[in-house]
Structures are given as C-alpha cells and as structure tokens.
C-alpha cells in the first residue's frame, strides 16, 4: 500500500503562529513526498483539531500522521489515542515539536523559525514514512507476592496484601517473626511494650489464610520477571519453587556493634542501646549514673550517615530509666538532637522534663571512657557550651549506634539484580518519588534494608510497597509500549556489555541455536522488562541491537533530510 501522509500544523493560538509562519509551513509540507493532506489548526489539540485528524484519516485514507505542535511529553498520548480512534495504528504517528524547539526559542527570528519549522516537519515526514505498525505487549501477572523478611516491614506488607486478597509467601530466615523489633522492650513514642504492637500483628499474619510463612528458609535463586517470578528456596532440608507475580524485599538491618570504640571491647558495662534493653529487660537493677554517647559509629568520616532514630532510642531508654529511678543521673552526650517532626520534638521535650541531661560534644573532641578492671566508671567530655571538660561518673555507658546493612544484601543484590548504594543499603529507583521501588519492575523495597527507618516508617513502607505490588496484580497483566530494544542474534558477539549496562535488568543471556550443531549464548531483551531507554543499543559494539521506533534507518532518514541532497543509508 502506498504511503498517504497527513501533516497537521498547530498555531497554538499565537504561541507558534505568532512566530512561525504556519500557512507557509503548511504549504511547504504539501510538497513533501507522499504527503496527501496538510492543514493548519488554531489548536490541533482542541476537539476541532482532533476531529479533523480523524476525519482526514477516514476521508483521505491517511496511513501516516504527523502533528507539528508542542511537546510529546504532554500531548503525544492524546494524538496517538486519537489515531487509534480513527482506526490507525498508533505507532504510525510522529510528533514534531515546533513550539519548544522552534517558536519559543527563536521568538525574535521569525524567518529563521519558519525555516526551522519546515526542517523539523520534513524530518518528521521522513521518519514517519519508515514507521511500521506495532502492537503493545502484555504479560499476565500472578496474584501472589513473595515477601523476603518477617520483620515489622515485611509483616505489614504481608498482612495488607493478604487482606486485599492476594496470596503471600513470607520468607523468614529465623524461627520467629518480628525481626529486630522483637529484641526491643518498649517502643517510642508511646513507651508501650513492643509486644502490644508486634504480637497481634504476628498472630494475624500466621493465622491469615492468604499468607504462607516459611521459617528458617533460605532464598537460593530468583528467576523470571514481573508477573512470573520463580523463587527457589531451601527449607526443611529440601528445595522448593514458589511462583509469584511480585516481590518485596524487607530483610531489615543490624545494629552496629561498635568494636574498638569507647571501650566497648574493654569494659563489661559499656554496651549498645539494644544490649542495654536486653540486659535490663526486667529492671534497671539500681543503676544510678548512666552516660549515653550518641553518634557512635555515625556521622563520622568513616561512617558518614545518620542513624535517623538513634537519638530517639537513647531518649527512650534514658526516659524509662529516669521514670523508674528518679534519682538516677542520666546524661546523653549528643552532637545534634535529631528529634525531627511533631512527635519526636515533643518526645525530646518530655525527656528534658523528666530530667534527662543533654550535653553537646564536638566530634573533634570525643568523650573519653575511663575505667578500672573490666568496668568503666567515668566519662570525660568537653562541654561545648561551657567551654570546659566535665567528668561524669558512670555505672554504665551506653553507646548509641546506628543500624548497618544486613550481610545478605550483597547476595540478594546479585541474585535479583537490584542495586546497592554507597552505604551498603539497597538503592531505591528514585530517592524522592520512588522510595519503595527498584528500577526493575515488580520488585519493591521496604524498611531498614533501604535505610535506617523507625517503626512507623517501616509500617508505612510495608504498606507502600504492598500498594506498588498490588497494582500489577490487580490489573492481572502488564502492558508495555512496543518501542523496545531487540537483538539480532546473528550479529551478537556475546560480549555482555548490554547486560551490564541495562538499568532494568532486562537483558540476559539466552542459549541460541544457530544450526543443529552450533549453539551459543547470546544477549536477549525481555520485552516486559525493557523500558526502551536505548542504552543497550548505544553500548553494542556489533550493531546487533536496535530500538523500535528509533532505528538507525529512521534516525538517518531524519538526519539525511536536513542536509539537502544528501541521503544517508547504512
């Protein structure tokens, strides 16, 4: 069938028409090869403009459409859908931006802007001529989710997904649910026993029909992609496979053991906050003088990040001790009190009210622990505000340390192709707006595996990750645009650069049979995972990968037509 191209040029009121001579461009477009219809519109995006496109597709039998107007960012979906409405495959549409790229940037050069608009339209026509009809791709999504980690984040995610009606496979490597939190006596800011929060949650999870909890389990391998993952696990001495549609990583983190710091290895009565909670689980045993040192192993050159809620933990333990033994002297040595927000600032005020003393120290003049035998008994600190040293008696010295990444992070990262950041925590897809997602589709992150996170945030992230996982499961399938990469097997040299460079883990090895005798592993692009970014195309040394909708032929046709008399071919 011969090409029949329609070109629609928008005035955008005076946004384009005020600078670009649109009638001239319309007239010019009519002279381009295979263009059978051209028109200018006051607003091509208005119902008038859209219906005109539909009518022309129908009446003039157009099989390609070019719209020259504003930005594809806001308007391409509209025009593509419009083509579809008129029965034209939406991939036979090309968008030319003569507003941002032309009238707006050349507002004072009307003639040049008009010439450039002609160039851009000519390029658009050159490209649209080479486009072929494509279909969107879709895959089914299993309505079940794998949740790795049975801490507060994983439990929250599991429970909400199950309540929403999805199947959940919950993996816990120990024999108990509750994660790090089960070692904590009381939770801030309510100072209520942890069990009050945790027990009902664990109970609901265990009893829920839609949740299967795997205790003492090891995740060995994850295969597949969104909608159809397979998790290989080892449990009860055997190996099993779980088929799931989505995955939530919630493996938590560990408390830093401050080896070599502040006499932690030297004195029995120097301990971390978590150790303090465990040691004095049943009572404070007459502690009279306690010094807590904050930012141990945090906010230093070696360990640069802030533990986010360590200050609050210290305040909690200090407050509980003061409330239990009002005459006790409890001093928190701190660098900044990270009582951010509404609740924690109030918690901080309350700690001061019960008589917890806060002394600010400088990281350059850190406190010194003095002791005799296996017990520390004094902490010397330079009081920054008073400008002199203080010597505080201490029955116990509590070191407030941050959470550090779990040791499983590295293995999991490799297994699932999910990235890890500088600090060793998992790295989310976007720090600001995609905090519980990974770049790869169908895999999500919640809780301290991402970054130290306090309880309410862990719960929130559990719920958030569940919402993300629920979306494709609710739809039952995922649809991807047709403009994705493809590998030409015969050209692939099996160098693996594309596999390394793909940010979405969409390129992988596959066994390819070239002849009955010859097979070789070559790269292949999983259409469901590919986002069409083109990195693999650019990285390929053998010219074996191409991106639909942006093939070399198409791009070179556009380039070629900008230089009169030149035609680029491969």
């Amino acid at each position: 069938m011969s090409l029949r191209i329609g070109v629609f040029i928008c005035n955008c009121g005076t946004n384009i028409g005020g600078t670009v001579n649109v009638p001239e461009v319309v007239e010019y477009a009519a002279t381009l090869p295979n263009v059978v219809h051209t028109e200018g519109n006051l607003y091509t995006c208005s119902e008038d403009g859209l219906s005109s496109i539909r009518n022309q597709i129908d009446e003039r039998d157009l099989n390609r459409v070019v719209v020259a107007s504003c930005t594809p960012r806001t308007h391409e979906p509209l025009f593509k859908k419009n083509c579809e409405l008129a029965g034209l495959n939406k991939y036979l549409f090309e968008f030319v931006n003569i507003r941002e790229h032309c009238s707006w940037v050349h507002m004072t050069q009307q003639d040049d802007a008009t010439d450039k608009a002609k160039d851009l339209v000519r390029m658009g026509v050159a490209k649209v001529s080479l486009l072929t009809p494509e279909e969107d791709l879709s895959t089914d999504v299993l309505p079940s989710s794998l949740i790795i980690g049975g801490g507060i984040s994983g439990l929250s995610a599991a429970l909400t997904l199950a309540t929403q009606g999805y199947q959940v496979e919950l993996l816990e490597k120990t024999d108990r649910l509750g994660g790090l939190l089960k070692n904590v006596n009381m939770v801030f800011p309510s100072n209520a026993p942890t069990a009050e929060l945790l027990d009902p949650l664990v109970d609901s999870v265990i009893k829920h029909d839609n949740i299967r909890v795997h205790f003492e389990v090891k995740l060995v391998e994850v295969k597949g992609f969104i909608g159809n993952f397979t998790a290989v696990i080892k449990e009860n001495g055997g190996t099993g496979e779980l088929k799931i549609g989505t995955i939530i990583v919630a493996i938590g983190a560990n408390e830093l053991k401050p080896k070599g710091m502040f006499g932690y290895d030297l004195f029995d009565n120097v301990m971390t906050q978590l150790e303090f909670e465990q040691r004095y689980r049943r009572g404070f045993n007459g502690l009279k003088k306690v010094v807590m040192i904050n930012c141990v192993g945090a906010r230093t050159d070696e360990m640069p990040y802030c533990g986010r809620f360590c200050c609050i933990t210290a305040m909690k333990n200090a407050t509980l001790l003061k409330e239990a033994i009002p005459e006790a002297e409890v001093t928190i040595l701190q660098r900044d009190i990270m009582a951010f927000g509404k609740v924690f600032e109030e918690y901080y005020q309350k700690a001061m009210q019960v008589g917890v003393r806060f002394v600010r120290y400088n990281v350059d003049r850190p406190p010194e622990i003095k002791g005799a035998g296996d017990a520390a008994n004094k902490v010397k600190v330079y009081h920054e505000l008073m400008g002199r040293d203080l010597e505080l008696d201490a029955d116990a010295v509590i070191l407030t340390t941050p959470l550090v990444p779990a040791e499983d992070n590295q293995a999991l990262s490799k297994m699932m192709k999910i990235p890890i950041g500088n600090e060793g925590f998992f790295m989310e897809a976007h720090q600001k707006l995609r905090p519980v997602e990974f770049p790869a589709d169908g895999i999500f992150i919640a809780g301290c595996a991402r970054y130290p996170t306090e309880i309410v945030e862990c719960i929130s992230q559990g719920y958030a990750a569940a919402a993300k996982a629920a979306a494709p499961m609710a739809q039952g399938r995922v649809v991807t645009e047709a403009f994705i990469s493809k590998v030409n097997p015969l050209s692939c040299s099996s160098c693996g650069r594309c596999i390394e460079i793909c940010p979405f883990g969409a390129v992988d090895w596959v066994e390819f049979r070239f002849s009955p005798e010859i097979t070789r592993e070559i790269a292949t692009v999983n259409p469901t995972e590919c986002k069409g970014c083109g990195l693999c195309v650019a990285s390929c040394l053998s010219n074996a990968i191409y991106l639909k909708g942006f093939t070399d032929e198409e791009i070179l046709a556009m380039v070629g037509t900008t230089i009169a008399g030149h035609e680029f071919t491969l």
Partner: protein, 899 residues
C-alpha cells in the same frame, strides 16, 4: 454495597501519589484539589534535596499521569461541602468552583493574560511578583486551564441601575486604555458624556474605597473617556449586527428613548424616534441647565445614535400629529413610550394661581428653549431636588438678585446631588431648610409674599427619610417677587388614544411588567419617568435598554422573561486594609465669579492625568473587573462569565486526606524583621526567586535595590520549635536551607551563606553527605545558635543578625545582604472545615489526628478515612509519598473487605 472508588482530597505530591497508586490498582479515583491546578507545594520548589533534581521535572510527569490516567477524575478548584454514609459507601458532595473558563475548550494558550487590566499578588510566587486576574496557576499547571479570579461583582456595578462594568472601565482607564473603556461603558450606557455630568452616581455611594478614604470619582472618570471620544476624529460606533427589516417607533427622545433606540439599532432594527419638543434629549435638554450639561454634549451623543441609522423626528406630537394606530398601520412592529414627566406637580396651597408663580420645570423648559422669562429679584424656589437647584441657579444667571431655596426637610435629606448643593452655596444662594410654604400672598393678582412654617423632623417615612412635622405657631412671612414650585413632575398622557389598551396607575404612571416593561398592550413598551415618575437619567437609560431587549425578543417571538430575573449581589468581605490614604481627585470648576452671570459649563472635566490617577484609586473589589477583554480575545471561546459554582456528588468507598501544609505567617516574629526590613525574606520567597520559572527568572535580587546579594544568612526554626508559635519541628527546613544555600552558590560562585541553626537535623538518606558537601564545596557555614534579632543597617539596607556564638560564648552581630527565614510549616487552614465535614478530629496543632498510633499510621478518627503526608505531621517528600502509597493500600483493604 461497596463503591469501588475513592476520593483523594489534596492534589499535592501525596495526593497525586495516592491517586496514581489507587488508579493503578483499578480503583476509580476522584482527586479533589482546592487550587486551580494539582501539583501542590512541590510545584513551587526549584530543586529537591539531596539530589538537586529539578522539582518540576520530576513532578510534572506525575501530574500528567494523574491527568491522563483513565481511572482518575481530576476535580480541581473544588471543595468538599458534605459527607454522608460510612466506610465502604460514602457520598461526598463537592463544590466545583466556577473558573469562568470552560476546561474542555481552554487550550492554555495564554492569549487572555495580556489584556487583563487587573493585577494581583501572585501567591504561587509567595507574594514576590504579580499575576493577572485571569491566570494559569503556574506554567505547567494541570489541567492546563486558566481561571478567572472573581470574588464577585463589585458594588459599583451592582448599585448602578444600568449595571455598567464600572470596575472594568475604571481598571482600563487606569491603564490608559480609554477607547476600550468607552466601548465597555457603551455596552450598557449609550450616553456616558451626559451621565458623566448629571448622573446621581449610586456607584460612588456604594464604592468600597470610601471605607479607606473617599469613594473613587467614578462619574468624572467616565466623563473623561466619553469626552475624549466625542472630541476624537472618529467617534466610537458599535458594530451593528445583521440588518433587520423590522421597524420600531420610539415616542420621546429623552434618555429612555435614546437608549432604547441605540440598543435596537445595534441589533439591526429600523428605529424612528418621535419627539414632541423641537429639540432632542427630553429633560436633559429642557430640564437641566446648560451650565451643567452643555447642549453640544447632548447633540454629540445623539449624533452617534443618528449615525447608527436611527431617524429622529422632532416637533411631532403623538396623539395630535400622528396616532399610535397610524404608527401601527405604517408597519411599526413595536412601540416604546419614553415620554418622561414634564408636568409640574402643584403645591396645593392657597395662592398658587397668582401671577409670578411659575412651575420649575416649565421655567427651565422655557429658558432652555431660549425664551426670556423674568420673575423679579426675590425668588423663592420650593423643593430640594435637582430641579430646584437648577431653577434657582438658572434664576441667578438670568439676573435675579436674591433667589433662594425653601426646603421642608434638613440639608442631609436633600435629594439633589451633593456637588450641586455645594455649587449653589458657592454661588451665594441661600437655602432655608426645615421650611415649608403655607400660602402664597398676593396683591393685585400678583405674588407679594410667601407665608412659611418652620418644620422639625419626626420618625422616618417609607422613603427612609425623616418625616417633616410643622411646628405650630411658627408661621412667618417672606416678601418675594416670584415663587417657583419644584417639588415633582408627572407625565402628560395626551399621546394615548382609545386605540391603545395600556393602563395607568393611580399615580398617573404607565402600568408595565417590571421585568419586560411590556404594557397591557403587547406591542407597546414603556420606561423611564413615564413609568417610574421622576427618577434619574441612568434609570431611564436602563429602562430603555431593557425595553430594547424585550422588543427584540418580542419581534423574534421568543420568551420575554427568560433568564432576566437576575439578582445583583455585591461582593462582600473586600479587604480594605493596607491602602495608603489618597484623597479623591477634585473636579476643577469655573470660579464662582466667572459663572454666576452666564451659562458656561461649571465643571471643567478631568485631565488625562487626573483621570488615570483617580482610576488607580480603585481597590478592585471583585478582583476580576468584568471588563470582558479576555472573552473577546479568546479564540477558543472558552471564557464563560455565566459559569456558576456547581455541586457534584461522588460515591466512594474510602477517602484519603492529603491536604499538605501552609506557610506560617512570620510577621508576628517582629524580632526577625520580616515585613519591616526589605531584605529579609522567607524561605519560600527565596525558593521562588532562585527558580528559573519564578518572578526573577532565577536571579537573586535584593528586594530593596535589585542588587545581587553576596552574603546570605539563613535563620532556622522561625516559628518552629518555639513555644510562642509552633512547638514542633517542621522537619524539612534544615535540608531546605542547606539546599537553598547550595543552589545560591551554584548560581553565584562568589556568594557565601551562613545557616544559623539549633540542631542540624539531616536524618534522611544522603542528608549528612549533602551537608558535608555544602560545607566543603559550596562555602556554607553553619553556626549553632538561635539568633535574637535582626536589625537594619540603614545605610545599605543590609539586615544584621544578632546572635550568641555558643562555641566562644560571645554576643555577635553579622551583616548580610539578604536574610532568609526558614518559616514554620503548618497544617492547612482548610483542615478545619474539611475535618468538620468529614467528621475527623484534628490534633492540637490542626494536623489530622492519628488515634491508633503505630498500629495504624494512616488511620483517622473516622473509619474509612485515611490521612497521609504533611497533613498528619511534618515530613519530607519521600516520607509523604511513602505514606500516600501506604494509604492507598489501606483504601484497597477497605474496598476488598466491603466487596
């Protein structure tokens, strides 16, 4: 039954995220936002910490996703009015505020902006810059639709009997757009030069500016543009619509008749005016003296009407020369009676028939028609209206030595224009208030004296004025040569023959339908003094215009009444604070000595400068001035002033609250000088300033002199962590200030910043690294202290921060080019009304309360209603989007449980 739909309240990042997540789960979402665009606070930010991503670049795709998602219905510019039902099945009533722009038609091109004469402070730019009354909330707004900021119709327009867009033409004149102003006036009033001289201007009585100082001199401003047009080479002629063959006869060439003719001619009708007098203008010509309304002005405005094709036949006495029946036979499809009220009401006292008693209107008519009338030297004019004033002043000009006024009420009750009373006094004419004639004493059949009674004021009568009561025994006699009664007029209906079915009221006025002005005879319409009794010019003009509308409909055979019963409600709650007192511009007048013996115009008119200056005093009560310039330029025909707020009801299973935050007003923190020291600004103002799409296109400029600052001082916790203001920590300011300091240095490598803080709460992922880089790479200095105050160095307008150096324990003062206050962020005020309507509780600060604490961070006090983001507690963007997605899960639970 459960509704598989959810309502999200608040279109900031949290609300958008919750909506997208829900929509992706296949749940129908109604995303309601009170502003004209979604985007929320994040849209105001330049960059985001700690990655320095362009805020809009990461936000816009989310906004577009919301707009394009098939499961999301955007309800922008909307507010919740009522919620009924319970979890799983709520009914929410939502008011969709009128944008006055058709969202489906508006393509967001922005051509409307330029013509809009109204400029208001741009809240999106945190008050640093202005926008127009017609505006897009910000360039990337979604929906990409404009809105008109209309508080309501200004009181001047509602008070004007003709409902001229007064604020509109005043605004246009303030911009020097005189011709557009005149065109706008003529939409409602074809005789502005006349009205600009003699109108009783109820617009000015209603003017809100009088609450500040004095009303705007609206009438004089109008006169200026009208005169300008009459003096110009080509006068403004309205576009005449398609010519029609239908004929209309108008009886009377007074203001009512002329107005009726103008608007009918504009519609294309063939109009003929029949006038009994030899001149046009009716009472304008024969009732109002020339020194108030020069004849060439009347003639000029009448000429415009003639130029539109209207035929005027003077000296034709209907009923005598030609009858109504004959007019009908000549093919007139409709007739308008605007005959006015030219017959003087008698005093009904003894001696009224004596020689030397001359009714006021007759006197004025004779004089105005050029006849010589002499009444002698001492002339008593009885009455307090404009006719009385005109009569007495005319008498003076004709040589009477001692003309004076007798009026039965007090000066305050006088119905005459204030200026006329004033001018009368200037001319030395005595006014005797609280005096009523009892009888006229004659000698030889001629007036000799007038006996009067002293009056006092009693209770108000139905006119609202205090009723005059005679004081018994207070009679006294004044010797006079003439008496002129000027206490009222009535109509002369000799024009009506038996062929018309019209009826008259007991007062001798024509009975008409009050809205259509149709008489009991269907093809006859009437208006002006003939219907109302003696009233004002502008009321007659309005009647003529309304009759024209009726006649057009009558001829076209459509319903006369439909859509015309409109109540004009003036806008209320117009803020009048913060305006400097500017005196009303005085009308220049001819000196009393130069005018008492002639008929030259007394009021000389405003100069262009005076008109513009005076117009600028308008405080834009309605915000939008209703000048309709936007409607005229909009090629997409999207402007729709008839739009009204409308209510929609949505059925949803659950609700997510994401109302975000407001900025704390830092002006009560006097010690930091915001509002007093120009170069002290808020963090949001700084953000808009450094943003490329902001009012300074990304250039840092000191408000005092526009100079580029070299040293910035940031004060943290302004209103936060402060028992006098907000006790809590606002959670984002430490990083926000750090970001701003980094950006400033990126823009200007010479620039250094100092951040005065209490605790550097850099607790999020990558935040510590961000602060470290600020110190090492961007020359940001951090000083731990809470500054005591900010003073001003008068010489260079630099703010000086006074603080205690807590390391060296010394008091210090540091001078900066600009100081930025990290203001507290507070729950939105709208939480209060939303909480009330939803039945959820707020905490002591106004945040949405979360009663279940840790076990349900999204829960509110109402089942099925969830909170997320800053409206629950201060938090940054990632935390907000986490909460938003989490709340989406909660909604999904509710919908799953109820299905």
């Amino acid at each position: 039954m459960s509704q598989k739909a959810a309502l999200v309240i608040g279109g900031g990042i949290a609300g958008m995220q919750a909506s997208i997540d829900l929509a992706n789960m296949g749940i129908k979402v109604y995303l309601m936002e009170k502003k004209p665009s979604i985007g929320g606070r994040m849209a105001q930010l330049d960059k985001t910490f700690p990655t320095n991503d362009c805020s809009m670049c990461i936000l816009a795709p989310k906004m577009i996703e919301c707009a394009n998602h098939e499961n999301v219905d955007l309800l922008t510019y909307s507010e919740l009015s009522e919620l009924t039902g319970s979890s799983g099945d709520f009914k929410a009533k939502i008011i969709r505020k009128a944008r006055f722009i058709d969202e489906d038609k508006c393509v967001g091109c922005g051509e409307c902006i330029e013509g809009c004469p109204i400029t208001v402070t741009d809240e999106f730019n945190a008050g640093l810059g202005n926008r127009k009354a017609i505006y897009k909330y910000f360039p990337q707004a979604v929906p990409s639709t404009f809105a008109i900021d209309r508080r309501g119709t200004a009181p001047c327009k509602t008070a004007c009997p003709a409902h001229i867009s007064v604020q509109g033409y005043v605004a246009l004149i303030a911009q020097g757009r005189f011709q557009e102003a005149l065109k706008l006036i003529k939409e409602e009033n074809p005789l502005p030069a006349i009205c600009g001289r003699v109108c009783h201007h109820p617009c000015e009585s209603a003017c809100t500016r009088s609450q500040v100082d004095e009303p705007v001199a609206i009438d004089f401003i109008k006169r200026f543009v009208a005169d300008l047009d009459l003096k110009s080479e080509t006068r403004y002629l309205p576009q005449i619509k398609k010519k029609r063959a239908h004929k209309v006869a108008i009886i009377g060439a007074g203001p009512a008749g002329l107005s009726c003719a103008y608007y009918l001619a504009k519609e294309g009708y063939q109009v003929t005016i029949y006038e009994k007098l030899p001149v046009t203008g009716g009472m304008l010509s024969v009732g109002i003296p020339e020194y108030r309304l020069p004849r060439d002005i009347i003639n000029a405005e009448v000429q415009v009407i003639r130029d539109m094709g209207v035929k005027i036949k003077t000296g034709v006495d209907i009923g005598k020369d030609i009858t109504i029946e004959q007019l009908r036979e000549e093919g007139y499809n409709a007739i308008f009676l605007g005959i006015g009220a030219h017959k003087c009401t008698s005093l009904n006292i003894e001696g009224e028939n004596l020689e030397g008693v001359y009714p006021g209107v007759d006197f004025l008519r004779e004089v105005n028609l050029g006849k010589q009338v002499s009444l002698g030297d001492r002339i008593a004019v009885v009455g307090g209206g404009n006719v009385a004033m005109d009569t007495v002043r005319t008498a003076l000009r004709l040589g009477a030595k001692e003309p004076f006024i007798i009026y039965r009420r007090s000066l305050e009750e006088m119905p005459a224009n204030e200026e006329e009373v004033e001018e009368c006094e200037e001319e030395g004419i005595p006014i005797y208030p609280l005096t009523n004639p009892k009888r006229i004493i004659g000698e030889n059949g001629r007036v000799k004296a007038i006996e009067c009674l002293k009056m006092k004021l009693g209770e108000p009568d139905e006119s609202g004025r205090r009723r005059p009561i005679p004081i018994e025994g207070s009679e006294f006699i004044i010797e006079v040569d003439g008496v002129v009664p000027a206490i009222g007029q009535e109509s002369d209906w000799s024009c009506l023959g038996p062929e018309s079915a019209c009826t008259l009221s007991n007062w001798g006025t024509m009975n008409v339908d009050p809205i259509t002005l149709q008489t009991d005879d269907s093809d006859i319409f009437a208006g002006g003094d003939a219907v109302t009794g003696p009233k004002t010019v502008i009321e007659a003009i309005e009647a003529g215009k309304q009759a024209a509308i009726s006649i057009d409909r009558f001829i076209r055979g459509v319903n006369l009444r439909e859509g015309r019963e409109r109540e004009w409600e003036p806008v209320e709650d117009v803020p009048t604070e913060g305006y400097d007192h500017i005196p009303r511009t005085r009308m220049p007048r001819l000196e009393p000595g130069d005018r008492a013996n002639n008929f030259q115009e007394v009021q000389l008119g405003f100069s262009e400068e005076q008109a513009v200056t005076e117009a600028k005093r308008c405080i834009s009560c309605g915000i939008c001035s209703e000048c309709y310039t936007c409607a005229e330029v909009c090629k997409a025909e999207a402007v729709d002033f008839a739009q009204r707020d409308r209510e929609v009801t949505v059925n949803v299973g659950a609700i997510v609250l994401a109302t975000g935050f407001d900025l704390y007003d830092v002006s009560p923190l006097m010690e930091y000088g915001w509002g007093r020291i120009e170069n002290v600004i808020t963090a949001m103002q700084f953000e808009r300033m450094i943003c490329a799409s902001g009012p300074t296109t990304g250039h840092l400029k000191r408000p005092s002199d526009g100079k580029e600052p070299k040293r910035l001082g940031f004060i943290q916790c302004v209103g936060s962590r402060d028992v006098r203001h907000m006790r809590y920590c606002s959670a984002v300011c430490c990083m926000h200030a750090t970001k701003e300091a980094i950006l400033a240095h990126e823009h200007y490598p010479e620039l250094t910043s100092t951040i005065f803080y209490m605790d550097m709460r850099a607790v999020g992922k990558g935040f510590q690294e961000y602060v470290r880089r600020a110190k090492t790479e961007y020359e940001v200095e951090y000083i731990r202290t809470r500054p005591g105050r900010v003073t001003l160095n008068e010489e260079n307008q630099n703010p000086v921060i006074h603080y205690e150096d807590t390391i060296n324990r010394e008091f210090r003062a540091r001078e900066f080019d600009m100081v930025i206050l990290s203001q507290a962020l507070i729950p939105t005020e709208s939480n209060i009304s939303i909480a009330k309507r939803l039945g959820v509780e707020l905490d002591e600060f106004g945040f949405i309360a979360t009663p279940e604490g840790l076990s349900n961070p999204f829960g509110t006090t109402k089942e099925g209603v969830f909170g997320c983001g800053f409206c629950q507690s201060p938090m940054d963007v990632p935390d907000s989007v986490v909460r938003a997605s989490g709340a989406a899960s909660k909604v999904a639970e509710v919908l799953a449980q109820h299905s």
